[in-house]
């Protein structure tokens, strides 16, 4: 434990160093190198603790609330998330190192000293904050770290404050973050003992009554949910995540949302004690809504990073579904199934952190190479940036849950858990689970469409702008930063069982069971959870067989078929010129049109406006799309309007005359006197 704490302290030191030496060229090397090393250390430590088990590492520091002090504790759950966070930290640092340098070259250093806001000092702080949340073991330390994390990321978002829409995004982000913190504050207010003992141990010791527990569940879903991006509290996420530099976006989207998930698990599974069945029902419902809405949003986007952010919303929805299932089954006293669902949740947490980081890195690489995030200005990058293209393809396939990659394993486990609905007693739940399953399946399929769109438009086809046509592959550091998660995606897809084995202590801690309980023989390369009723999946064999078959196929074909190849210009619907197809090529919005028509027209009131030139007019026809964000209309705008209206009304008080102010005073006095006179009767 001391090691983790000192590591975090070291992160602060790195931050200070970065602040001090931000002028020097070596600064970024120091910061990112130091951060990566520290993260590696913590991740390793956590992995070892999980592997060897043993008692939880604890530590009490004489800071924080005087009569509580700062309790730090790393149990199995914390260890799991420590691995996730710091893995993300390592890759992000690796990528960020290259990213920063590339951008400094492209900006030719900074003329007025601060072209970009300071990222270097804040980046380690952000990671330190997330790590602190994971090891905090009393409400005060927890919320302090939680809010500190938000603060650091807010400033990181503001590092691009020169760009027009950053301030709005940053503001909304910090507001929603504080709303979440407020909800968590209230929740812990209920949980804490009357005489102000905020330590988790004390909270566990005195369990709240049903009403209080219900209140806490709602508040946690609001508080942690707003951070994780549960619909309709997600409005800030697709604005704030893309605004930051790409490696920070990766951390925010891939990792910080997981910290929010950690908060949910910590409270719902650990602190609140025995769950009731409806907790899971609510969580699941929100999850399903979030999953479907998130991916539908993503399908409407033309901005690569915003699209990715919305897809994060979708994945959070999937995780929430898994958590809800786990809660339901835990409440139904079928721990093994609960363990299965929870394993699915944790696995998906890891997977998403991997491929979402990877994809954000890819977006960053595109941004570096073409200077644009707009899909309609990209295209054909597979020729210009081959490595990035391959890695991004892995990411896209993984997030679309294609076997034998890791995304699919998570989905598979989740569906296995859903198939156990008959084990429950409540009808409403059984039916809800069926519906939720449908929603999840829909979301998965739509995600596939979404990433075909992203990859097909950005990397395939022909360049849609000069910059895209002249893009050059990014540097080695960035490519390495993308390669690491890509490789992990494949490895985890082929061999998920060892990882789940590693997580088993956490599962036992939370639902008193493991997914493989009661299985006599369980080879390490085989995934066959007990509760999955004889169902099993084996990515390894699948990979081998696929490889085998394709070899057979290729050999077979090439022995018979002709190898003659002729290159030519494809038919461009009668348009001539050097590259006819480029004119008629599909754009992002035109690709999205069928799905928009099928779903968007109702949910988003999406409308296509086609501007068709008259015959003989040679200008191209234009397809423009308009749509409205329901969450925005329902949640944000009314609030903003209400506050504005009230502020306007209140503002009159600023412009009264002294006599009127005296009148106010007089009235206040009289009112109080009357109150006293009345109370004395």
């Amino acid at each position: 434990m001391g090691l983790v704490v000192s590591a975090i302290a070291f992160l602060f030191a790195v931050a200070v160093a970065g602040a001090a030496a931000r002028r020097l060229p070596q600064a970024s090397t120091v910061v990112y190198g130091g951060t990566a090393a520290t993260c590696a250390l913590i991740a390793l430590w956590a992995a070892l603790r999980l592997a060897e088990g043993g008692p939880d590492a604890t530590l009490v520091l004489p800071v924080g609330l005087p009569w509580v002090q700062a309790h730090l504790r790393a149990d199995a759950l914390s260890a799991v998330f420590l691995i996730v966070v710091n893995l993300g930290g390592i890759t992000a640092s690796l990528f960020g190192w290259g990213y920063e340098r590339a951008h400094h070259e492209s900006h030719g250093g900074d003329q007025d000293g601060h072209k970009e806001g300071p990222v270097l000092p804040l980046y380690p702080l952000f990671l330190a904050g997330m790590n602190m949340v994971l090891i905090a073991a009393d409400a005060f330390t927890f919320l302090l770290s939680w809010e500190f994390m938000s603060l650091a990321s807010w400033l990181l978002v503001l590092s691009t404050h020169r760009e027009p829409d950053t301030p709005k995004a940053a503001r909304l982000y910090l507001l929603m973050a504080s709303f979440g913190t407020a909800c968590l504050l209230l929740a812990f207010g209920v949980l804490a003992t009357a005489h102000g003992d905020y330590s988790f141990a004390a909270i566990r010791a005195h369990a709240p009554d049903a009403g209080a527990a219900a209140l806490v569940v709602v508040l946690i879903l609001l508080g942690a949910g707003s951070k994780a991006g549960l619909v309709p509290l997600h409005v800030w996420l697709p604005l704030a995540h893309p605004a930051a530099p790409s490696h920070v976006s990766a951390l925010m989207s891939g990792v910080m949302t997981k910290v929010a998930v950690y908060a949910m698990i910590r409270v719902l599974f650990d602190l609140l004690g025995e769950p009731e069945w409806w907790w899971g029902g609510v969580t699941m419902g929100f999850g399903a809504l979030t999953a479907v809405m998130g991916v539908l949003y993503a399908l409407m986007q033309d901005d690569v990073k915003r699209l990715l952010a919305y897809s994060t919303v979708e994945n959070i929805g999937a995780i929430a579904i898994a958590l809800g299932l786990a809660l339901v089954f835990k409440a139904a006293h079928t721990p093994v199934i609960a363990a299965l669902a929870l394993a699915a949740a944790l696995l998906h947490v890891v997977n998403h952190s991997l491929f979402k980081s990877l994809l954000f890195f890819a977006a960053g690489a595109m941004l570096t190479a073409t200077g644009s995030r707009d899909l309609n200005r990209l295209g054909g990058l597979i020729h210009r940036m081959p490595t990035t293209a391959v890695l991004a393809l892995i990411g896209a396939a993984a997030i679309s849950a294609l076997p034998p990659l890791n995304g699919f394993v998570g989905e598979w486990l989740l569906f296995q858990a859903i198939l156990n609905a008959p084990a429950l007693s409540e009808w409403s739940l059984k039916i809800e689970i069926a519906v939720v399953g449908a929603a999840l399946a829909l979301a998965t399929a739509l995600a596939g469409a979404c990433f075909v769109r992203l990859y097909g438009i950005a990397f395939l086809g022909r360049p849609r702008s000069r910059a895209a046509g002249e893009a050059v592959e990014v540097g080695r550091a960035m490519r390495l930063g993308m390669a690491v998660p890509a490789v992990l995606c494949v490895v985890l897809g082929v061999l998920p069982t060892p990882l789940i084995r590693l997580f088993e202590p956490a599962l036992r801690l939370l639902v008193e069971a493991g997914p493989f309980d009661g299985r006599s023989y369980q080879p390490w390369f085989w995934l066959a959870p007990t509760s999955a009723i004889g169902n099993s999946y084996n990515g390894l064999i699948m990979l081998v067989v696929i490889a085998l078959l394709s070899v057979v196929l290729v050999l077979g074909i090439h022995r018979k078929a002709s190898d003659r190849v002729r290159w030519s210009i494809p038919w461009g619907c009668g348009f001539d010129g050097p590259d006819p197809a480029a004119v008629t090529q599909y754009t992002a919005s035109s690709f999205g049109q069928p799905i928009r028509r099928a779903f968007g027209s109702t949910v988003f009131r999406a409308r296509d406006h086609v501007d068709m030139p008259a015959p003989g007019d040679t200008r191209p026809a234009r397809l423009s799309v308009t749509w409205t964000d329901p969450a925005w209309v329902v949640v944000v705008e009314p609030l903003a309007r209400a506050v504005g209206w009230l502020a306007e009304k209140a503002n009159r008080l600023q412009f009264l005359t002294i006599r009127r102010y005296l009148t106010l005073m007089f009235l206040a006095l009289v009112v109080l006197l009357v109150m006293v006179a009345v109370t004395q009767r």
Binding site: F655, R659, L662, F666, L669, V670, V674, V676, Q680
Partner: protein
């Protein structure tokens, strides 16, 4: 304490209260000042009487101060201000006189209501005296908010002070009365100087919104 003493104190206090009502009733500045002078005299009498009946010599100082400042200097000063600054002689009330009267009466009832539960262990004198001074203070405040121009508001302010002193002298053996009344008089003096130096005729109740907005730093 003798009945006479009690009645006399009570009666004098009642006169002060009566004068407060009279103040509310005035429509012309000069008569307002005259009524205020009378209130000050009544207060002086009360203070002197209390000094005598309780045998507290320092209250004589209070009485003297009240006499010199409130009954002589300040009315004169205000009189000259009105003349020099050509403040027109009638008071424009923000609240109709009748309404003000009603409000005043209800304030007095409120103060009596408040004082009733005061238990008997507090002597009857403090009780009456408390009701009286409370009413005087509230009426003074009412005066300040129901009049538009500066001078009458100053008068209202000072009648609040009269209420305070009425309470103070009534409270048996209250120390620091003199010091406080001095400190208070300083403040009153400040106000009067303020009016005099900065030519504040209507600043209490400017109706000119632009002016206020610029004063409040919010103009565009």
């Amino acid at each position: 304490m003798s009945d006479l003493g009690y009645d006399a104190a009570h009666m004098l206090g009642a006169v002060v209260l009566l004068m407060s009502f009279a103040l509310l009733y005035q429509r012309r500045l000069f008569s307002l000042l005259n009524v205020f002078t009378m209130q000050a005299l009544a207060l002086t009498a009360t203070a002197a009487w209390q000094a005598y009946s309780h045998g507290e010599p320092h209250l004589y100082i209070t009485a003297l101060l009240t006499l010199v400042l409130k009954a002589i200097l300040i009315p004169v000063a205000l009189h000259r201000i009105v003349v020099k600054m050509k403040i027109h002689r009638t008071i424009e009330p923000a609240l109709g006189i009748g309404l003000t009267m009603v409000a005043g009466v209800s304030l007095v009832t409120l103060s009596i209501l408040l004082v009733l539960p005061v238990t008997a262990d507090a002597t009857a004198l403090t009780r009456e005296n408390l009701a009286l001074s409370l009413s005087v203070v509230l009426l003074g405040l009412l005066m300040m908010i129901s009049r538009r121009n500066a001078v009458s508001q100053v008068v209202g302010f000072m009648s609040i002070e009269n209420g305070l002193i009425l309470a103070a002298v009534g409270a048996a053996g209250m120390p620091l009365v003199v010091e406080m009344s001095v400190a208070f008089s300083v403040m009153v003096a400040f106000i009067i100087f303020g009016i005099f130096l900065f030519h504040i005729r209507e600043r209490f109740d400017t109706l000119d919104m632009q002016k206020i907005e610029s004063f409040r730093g919010e103009s565009d």
